[in-house]
Structure formats: structure tokens, C-alpha cells
Symmetry: D2
Subunit: 346 residues, 4 copies
């Protein structure tokens, strides 16, 4: 339970948690906006690992609602942004244009919200066999040798994904790995909206609660660039998110002299940035939400978890439009990777 509640695949969620918990992790964070995407670059150092609870490395987060809104204009910008960020990490690790890349798709092709990895692999522009079989015909400048594999999932293969990747690496000897996986989010608001690109490594299926052997430079011996998107969220998360927003909503109405009894529904108001509204003070929270209002987020989550789980209600859920969401994500991530790996593609 603990780790289920505390663990998250997304750095921005870890940052929120550490903020909420009061103790500042002091990790370097650089936020900026580009092409209407909010980009967050966080760097965790070796000695922050323990205190912050995330592996050392660079974590780039791209926030966009283009996928859930199926906005094709914006999707084109995202794939360029993905390519740009992957390239940045490749440069950080001194990966040159002729180095062999292995692209790995994690996840279950038969479970739609978990099929992102396998789907992306289908669209990767692989070239290793061309370099091997017809070296002469290849216009080497602008293209690098690329191999790609789907690991499948343990339930279907009987093998750890990390085990399969390691075996291939020992034999094929790529110079770096790019891994794609679907993740879990601690916020409904991030499902199919957040793309995290990192060189800190990734643990297959950690999102869905059954943590597997990690894929990282430590375990594989070569740089690992991971691209993850949260596609599922659990019922506990949805509920505690809603409760939190509910309290901020009240606080907002109070500050804006809304009718006294703030729990009586008022006319639908336009979207306001509730997440940045401060919570009401203790006294107000107590009067509106009783002792519930005095619990920390952690405590609220634990409580809801304890209530829903024995009822068999802590489902992992995904969006009703998951089929199209995965299709859109597949295209932008695959193209982003292809653009980063082959200078001559456009």
C-alpha cells in the first residue's frame, strides 16, 4: 500500500508530493513554455536520490492537451519537441550520429492503455539490417543503424522485459537504448496529457503496480533514454484529486464573496485555475469538511485507499477515448524518435 501511494512514475508528481510534504528537495527545476507546451526540466543529482526518492538524471516533462483534444496542428509541434528533447539527452551522453540505437517498446499490445510501447515500435524506421546486408547501398550520412524490439509482457512471455533487453544488448551491442512505455498517473488531469522524457531509467509496468526489473544505465551499461506517458489512473487518485479541488473551489468562492453557504451549488462558473488556488484556512476547512478537512493529502489518500480497496473498487481506469488517444500518441512519439535518430528524415 505505502509504495502504491507514494510511488509515481512522473517527476512532476514527486515534486508536488515533496512540496506538499513541506521539505524542499532543492532539485534544479527549469520551467518554460514553447509552442504552447509547458516544458519542465528537472535534474536530480546522485546525492538527492535518497531524500527525493527518484533516480538521478534529467527529467523533461511536456504538458499538452493536444492528444485528449485530438488537435492535429498541435500534435505536429509535439513530435518536433519530442525529437528536440531526445536529441538534447543524446548529446548529453555524447551519442554520435553513427552509433547503433536499440528502440524498445514495453507493454501489452492486447491491452489498449498499455499498448503504447508496442504500437510505437511498429512505426520506428529501422535500418540495422540494411547496414548489415547492403552496406554499400546505404547513404550513411543522415542515417544511423537502428534496431527495434517489443518485449511483450511477463504474463505472455514468462520473461522479465529487462531480461530480454539485456540479452539482446549483450548480443547486438547497441550504443544506447530508447525505451517507450505507458505509465500510471497520480492525477486524472495528466492521463494522456503528459510526456516524460528522461535518462534516469525506467521500471516496466511500475505504473500499473507490478514493478519489474529496472532498465537503466546502471543495469544495462549503456545510456537509456525513456519516453513515458501516463495512460491509467486509479480510483483512489481520482477521488482524492476531486476532494482537493473541492476544497480549493470553496476557498475560491469564499475569497470572491460568493454566497455564504458555499456547499450549495452555484451557477456553473468558467474554468478557473483551481490547482493554484490556496486551500482555505484550518478553521474554514474544519467547519466545511470537519476532521476530513484537516487531513494531509497523504492521509486522505491512505484513508480512501483503505476504504475502496477491500471493496474491490480501487480500479485502474483509463479514458473512454483511449483507442484514439493511443493512436495519436503512437504517431507523435514514433515520429519524434525517428526525427531524433535519423538526421535526414523530415
Amino acid at each position: 500500500m505505502q509504495e502504491n501511494l507514494i510511488r509515481t512514475d512522473l517527476i512532476i508528481e514527486s515534486i508536488e508530493v515533496s512540496k506538499a510534504s513541506g521539505k524542499d528537495a532543492k532539485i534544479t527545476i527549469n520551467e518554460y513554455t514553447e509552442d504552447d507546451m509547458k516544458i519542465t526540466e528537472a535534474i536530480v543529482t546522485k546525492d538527492q536520490e535518497a531524500s527525493f526518492g527518484k533516480k538521478a538524471g534529467t527529467y523533461i516533462t511536456i504538458d499538452t492537451s493536444a492528444i485528449v483534444e485530438n488537435d492535429h496542428e498541435a500534435l505536429l509541434k509535439i513530435q518536433k519537441q519530442i525529437a528536440k528533447q531526445i536529441t538534447k539527452l543524446m548529446e548529453k551522453h555524447k551519442i554520435t550520429d553513427d552509433m547503433l540505437a536499440l528502440v524498445v517498446g514495453l507493454g501489452n499490445a492486447n491491452v489498449t492503455p498499455d499498448a503504447l510501447g508496442p504500437c510505437v515500435i511498429e512505426e520506428i524506421f529501422v535500418t540495422k539490417h540494411l547496414f548489415d546486408l547492403h552496406p554499400e547501398e546505404i547513404d550513411r550520412d543522415g542515417f544511423r543503424p537502428v534496431a527495434a524490439i517489443q518485449t511483450g509482457v511477463m504474463g505472455n512471455t514468462g520473461l522479465e522485459s529487462a531480461e530480454i533487453v539485456k540479452a539482446i544488448i549483450n548480443d547486438v551491442k547497441p550504443k544506447f537504448v530508447i525505451v517507450v512505455d505507458a505509465l500510471a498517473s497520480r492525477s486524472l488531469n495528466r492521463v494522456n496529457k503528459t510526456i516524460q522524457i528522461s535518462d534516469a531509467g525506467i521500471s516496466p509496468g511500475s505504473g500499473v503496480g507490478n514493478k519489474r526489473k529496472e532498465l537503466s544505465k546502471d543495469t544495462l551499461g549503456i545510456p537509456v533514454i525513456s519516453i513515458g506517458v501516463p495512460t491509467v489512473v486509479d480510483a483512489v487518485t481520482i477521488t482524492s484529486d476531486a476532494l482537493d479541488l473541492l476544497m480549493r473551489h470553496i476557498a475560491y468562492n469564499l475569497k470572491n464573496d460568493d454566497p455564504k453557504n458555499n456547499l450549495v451549488p452555484v451557477h456553473m462558473s468558467g474554468k478557473k485555475d483551481l490547482e493554484n488556488v490556496e486551500l482555505p484556512d484550518e478553521e474554514v476547512r474544519k467547519s466545511l469538511f470537519g476532521e476530513l478537512g484537516l487531513l494531509s493529502n497523504e492521509e486522505k489518500q491512505k484513508l480512501i485507499y483503505e476504504v475502496l480497496t477491500p471493496q474491490g473498487l480501487n480500479y485502474m481506469v483509463t479514458t473512454k477515448e483511449i483507442d484514439t488517444n493511443i493512436a495519436d500518441l503512437t504517431h507523435i512519439i514514433a515520429r519524434g524518435i525517428n526525427l531524433a535518430l535519423h538526421k535526414n528524415i523530415n
Copy 2:
């Protein structure tokens, strides 16, 4: 908004709502258990329609966790139960063994949680063409003429499903219709767990909030037997369900002399039937949940709806395992229909 909160496709949810609202709808309800399935048979009369807010007719509800638990033993029992209940409704409407049946699959084949109807149609044993082309070869005893169509969804066809069905009926002249559709639930606890069989008619896509022209004896002129399963639920529902359970959980702990401060997580307790635990009294609710604790379910839902919707967070969600859930549902419903339509199948 109103209707979104009040409307539901499931009779048992309407019953709960009317109970909660205090006013007893006095509709006839017959509950019993068979093969470990809880069966609820409710009958709404013409003159109860208005007060109760559901069309007149017989509503049979089969409750089972066999699908979410992928329990193949139990699945076999359900398909027999489905056949039995369909047969009962066919007898109620004096449908004889030689009458032409039209089976209709509603929904979008490309949206997994909405694909139940189209998938079932693929497995219906159709025979009309055999009766038409080789009447002599047909062993008429034990088989009836059956036709089947998928209507697709308005977004892909530009046509109302009801319009397509009406057109086919006018031309093909079936004696009755069996309709299969995916529904929405007002409770996470019913998603992929409840099968509703009714002769009161059905409104395509009503589940997902865009109500379409109804398919019923009134609109089509022949008996309509509908089979619906809730496969999606919205975030508002999940949250208010959880809040409600949370309060009952506290009440339960209080009654059982649990440690005083009931909001501090206690050790995980086994599954208890929280839904049947009474809520704590006003005073306790007030002290634990403040004014929030005093709201009615309706009020709580409206409030949460008002908070989540402007934030674009009132997602329709489905289970992570929706692919296998739909596959299992498809088999049991298709076989249930085939068994009911053709006496000679087994």
C-alpha cells in the same frame, strides 16, 4: 447537467435514487439468487412511468463479478441465465418459434468500451438467408429465421441508429428486435458487472450522454428486447461513490468501537458490505465531514460535478482490462441470444 446527474440506464440505480430521495416508487421488485448470480426483476407500470422516470416494462438485472474476475466456470452459467431471461420476455410478448428476429448491435466498433454491440453481432447465428435461399434444406424445427445488423454510430454514418433500424424493419418485416448496447453506470461498482435485460426500450448512446432517438415498441411497432451492460462511468460518480463509502466506513468503525479518531487509517480490514452499512447520524457526520457531511447524495454529486466539469476533469472512464472484459461479455451475450433464438443450439 441536471439530466446528466439524474439520468441512468440501469433500473437498479433508479430504484436506489428513488429510495434515497425518500419517496417510494412502489414498483414491483422481485429479488432472488440463482447460480450465485443476484437477479432482480422489476416491473414498471404505465402509470408509474412519470413518477419513477423510467419507461414501463419488465427490467431484469443480473449481477455478477464473473467478467471482471474472468471466471470461465461462472461465465457459462451467465449465458444460460441470459438465454432464460430473454426467453421469458419472448414468451411475455407471445413470440413463437418461427417468428423472424432482427438482432441489432449499437455502438462504435472502434471504441473498445462501446464495441459490445458490434462484437456481439459478429457471433450471432443468422439464418434468414438460408430460409430464403434454400428453404428445403432447412431443418425448420429448432431454428428460426434470424437477421442481424450493426448500425454504427452517428459520427461515422451521419444517421440515427433508430432511423437505420426503422428502415430495415419496414423492409424486412421482423416480428421482434433484440438490441445490444454498452451503457454508462452511476456506480463504479457496476461497470462490467451488471447485465440488464428489458422490454422497455433503449436509447442508443444515452449512456455516454448524447441521447439518441429511442428504440422501443412505441417507436418501432414491434417488441424490443434490449440487453445492456454498463462499461463506462464518469469521474463525478467515482468520487461521490467513494465519499459515500468513506462515511459508511466511519460509521462502521464507530459501531464497532474502533479507535476514536476514525479518520486516522487503521489496519486494512477485510471486505465488509459497506453499501449496507447505515450512515452515521447527523452530529457525527457534521463533526467528521463538516457541512459536506450534511449534503444529500444528489447535492454532493452536483457539487462535485460543478467542481470537476469546468476543470475538464469529468472524464468518462473505463477499466484498464476493458479489452478482455468486452471479449468475455461478447461471448456470453451472443451465446445467450443464440440459445434463446434457436431451440436446437446447445
Copy 3:
């Protein structure tokens, strides 16, 4: 058997047959090349129907190897060409920009070589519902109301496709129909290479030997524009084609003073346009092929048919790459239709 041998869905094949048979059908034929596509426009008049064995109307044939060669440059040109030819037929039938269109996809979505119709429907830009529900919001200029349906196949629906279409037309009242279907070819050389656009009507599944009720202006009462592509061919066809080419190959070698004994394989020669090489004269044919060499194409086909069929060997076959071929055909035909129906798309 007879009809199986004589019937073909492609006008160019009927033309060849009638040429081969000596008697000239005297139908108007206009051949030209555009964007590297060979376009053949044939017009059959009412009084030629009987003698020529094809329904009266305009038949446009687009020949291209872009699909089998997966040539994306060329594919773009074809979709423009398809749009152009559909537009021409729409003008011939005085179809104006605001008239409601019904697009019909024939065939079995679960049988890859027969899935062209259903696949195309998935990509049609339908608008009727928008015109119906939000007439005010529609920029009527540049868009027309369009509806689209898949009829499925008799084996799955129990209904004739023509019956379903007729029922929808009676109810929805479109002003014209566009039908898409996969056909059979009498030549391996045309499979996935020939696109036939016509206003003479079409018979679902006629290609695969089980002729169904025809869809045409005669039967539906409104103009019917059909788009067909041969995706299957039978073993008899492949064999007799090869035998015919074999004889022309010999003739070619003779004319070019190739080594005397022409049946001993010579070095692989580059592609020559064998189809336009004349057959060797009787005497030579007799000495090389015996009595077999004296048979007409019809006779040869009948003979092979009689040999293979009782052996259960007259399979309908398709290309190994049928999956990608159908995908490519789907895109160009769907886009071609969308371009023709909506002036404002590009």
C-alpha cells in the same frame, strides 16, 4: 461454370474477351495517359448491352502499379484522379453540390481481400448529422450532406446488401449513391492494380462467384456510382494467363531468332510487353504445344477449369501483401470520394 468463365467485373476484360472472340462490340473506347496512369473510358449504349454482355453506362478504368509497389508519390496522384472521374460522373447525372450522398461499403470486414468497402467507409467524411442537428453552424458552401453505411455480408446479416441499401434509401432519401466493393479479376496482372469507376451499377460479391441483387439506377431509382478494385483471382485464371504468355514468349523468341529449341530455358531476358506480342502461327503452335496450342482462350480456360475444379483446386487467391494493399487502396479511394463530395476539402 459457363458464366464463371465468361463473367467478369472489369470492362477492359470484357473488351479483351470480345476482341479475342473476333466479333467487335463497336463500343466507344477512349484511352489516354495522365500522371503515368493509363486511363480507359468506355461507353456501353443500351442497344450494345445484349451483344456485349455489360450493362449500359460509362466505365472508367485507372491502371496503376502504385499500390503493389507501395509508391506514395503516385498514390497521391491516383486519389486526385479518382476524385476527378467521380466528379465527371456526378456532372453527367446533374448532381449538384447540395444533394445528399449515401456512400455504401460492400464486403466482409473480416476477410482481408474483401474488406475494401468497409475500410473505405471508416474514412468517409460524413456530415448529414451535422446538417440535421446544427444546420446553423454548417458552412454549407463547400460541403454537402453525406451519409455512409457498411452493409456487411449475407453470411453475417442474413440480408441481401441491396435490400439493406434499398431500405435506407427509402427512408433517408439520398439523391445518389457511391458504392465501393472488392472485385475478382480474370487476370493476375490486374489484382490490386486496376480501379474501375462506373455508373452502370454493380452486383455485390459477383466477383467471388456468388452473384447478389444488383445495385443500380434501375433497382434503386437514383444514380449509382461504383468504385471497384479486383483483389482476388482464381487458379484457372492464373494458369491460362501463364499458358497464353508462354506461347507469346515463344513467338517472341522465334521472331527474334532465338536458339531453335524454344522450350529450353534461355537466359532471363528483361521485361518485354508480351501481352502485345502476337501468338505464333497455327503450325508453330501445333508443333510446340500440340492440340493444346490450337485451342481458343475460352476452350483452354474451360479445360483447365474442368481439370482443377473436381480436384478442389480452383481456389480464389490473393496477394501475400494483401494487408498493406488494402490499406493503401482504402486511403486513396476514401480521399478520392471525400474530395469529390466536398469542394472545400483538400
Copy 4:
């Protein structure tokens, strides 16, 4: 070209070829019928390899028309037969009940006639992870550790399938391998009708003409049991098969005093076992087919190959019903493997 004509994946075809060529390979062949299936067991010894052109080992061939006829009764018998033959080979190689098995699916999941391997893997009962993670919970008696992988195809991975399998073996250390692949046939009459089980090794994609590194005990160091089914055939094969049958057909008619001019089609006669009818004598062949009639099968094939190939007509083709054929093959082969690997399954 040569190898294309001579190479075949099926032992029974090699046997025919060697018979036709007159020189008897003297390999041990044991034919028998069981449950209406014709079973052929051929054993090639080390010293026969060179002369016979096939790797040493046991080759079991199961002949059945159950798949093309979709005969479910018979399909059950085949899966038992497959299990029985696999078990026989496992015993030959002293494979005991507790030895780790690796099941490998070769081929392209996105090309229907090549998807047999990947499809089978989806239905293999894998257990290795259960033995690894919860050794205590496993009822070891009756179950063995099993892992399974799909290698994908070089065009999508950039890697040789053999390379991937070798890498996994080095790491996972299975005691034997079971490989499933779709093959090519030299006879239309065997497509989806012949199942070959062998311990002589297999070369991925050899069927479709692009031979890859072989998977065998020699290359992998552990026993390799391969299961192959021909799902494609080329146009040259179809044509020369038909020509050959044509000649035997004539011979048959002659022997049975049919009307003199035997090339004029006679009334359709019932199925006769033409393959076992002797060819007419030289003189007759010469008069009926000219010099063509005097060519050997090899020469005929070479000639047809030379004619069709430059015309781009030597397509690899498959049956129109390939989708259902692959589905049926997948079930019987997967169950056959599961039955052979786990004594406690039924």
C-alpha cells in the same frame, strides 16, 4: 532462380522431386493413416543430407483438409495428433517433464498469411515467471517452466530472428526450443493443408524466398522442434501444377475410352485421384502438347518461371479465406504445443 525452383520447406515435396528425378534417395519413409489424417514419417540420415538436399532429422507430415473445410470435429483430432508427434520428438531427444521450454513464433504479425507464428505465441500457456516468482505455489507435477517469444521480422526489427533467439537462449538457458512458422509450398494443394513437425531445424522466411539464418541444434546447441504450415504458393507453382494435372487428366480420359479429341471439354466428371494417374506416353504427350509435353517438371517450371518473372507476375499468393484459416491453425497448433508441454492440461 535455381534454388527458388528446387528449394522447398516440405519434406514430402523433396521426396516427390527426388522421385520425379528418377534417382531414389533411399530415405526411410513410414506412411500410415490415423483419425482420417495421412501421416508420413520420413527420416533423413547425416550421410543422406548432401544427396537428398535436406538436413538430417525426423520429418513428420500431417495431411488434412480440416482447416480449409473449417471442420471443427476434425480440428480437435489434429491438435491431439500434433501433441502426440511433438511428444515423440521430445522423447527422442530425452527431454524430461521439468525441462525449461522456449516457444518461438516466427513471422510478421501484420501480414495475415505470415502471422501464424506470432498468433500461436499469444495462446501458449507460459509458466516460467510463475516458477520464478512463486515457486511454492506451483503444482510442479504436470507443469513445466515455459517461456515464449515473438521475434518479429527483420524489416521491423532490423535483426535476424535467429540472432534474437540465440541471445535469449544464452541468457534464459532453455533446454529445448519449439519454433512455429508459416512456410511456402510448391503445390497449391498443400496450402493450409499440411502440417510438418521436425527436429531438423528451420530457416525463418525461407518459404517466402528470403532465406535467413537457420534455427537448429547445430546453430543453437539445443534440440529444436519446428512446426511449419505452408500458407503461400507462387504463380509458377500453380501453373505447372495445373499443366501436370491437365496431362494426367487426358491420360485418364484416354485410358477410360473417352471421346477421341480429349482436349474438347467433356462433362464435368467427379473428383478422381489425378495425382496418382500415370502420364500418357511420349507419343500421346507429343501429339497433345507438342514439345511442351516432353519437358520434365523441372524444365516446365523453369520455363514458366522465366516467362512470368520478367512480367512481374510471379506473385506469392494465398487463399481468400486466409484469415479464418490462420485462426483455425493457430488454435490447433497452440493447443497441440500446450498439451505436449504440460501433462496436466486437457
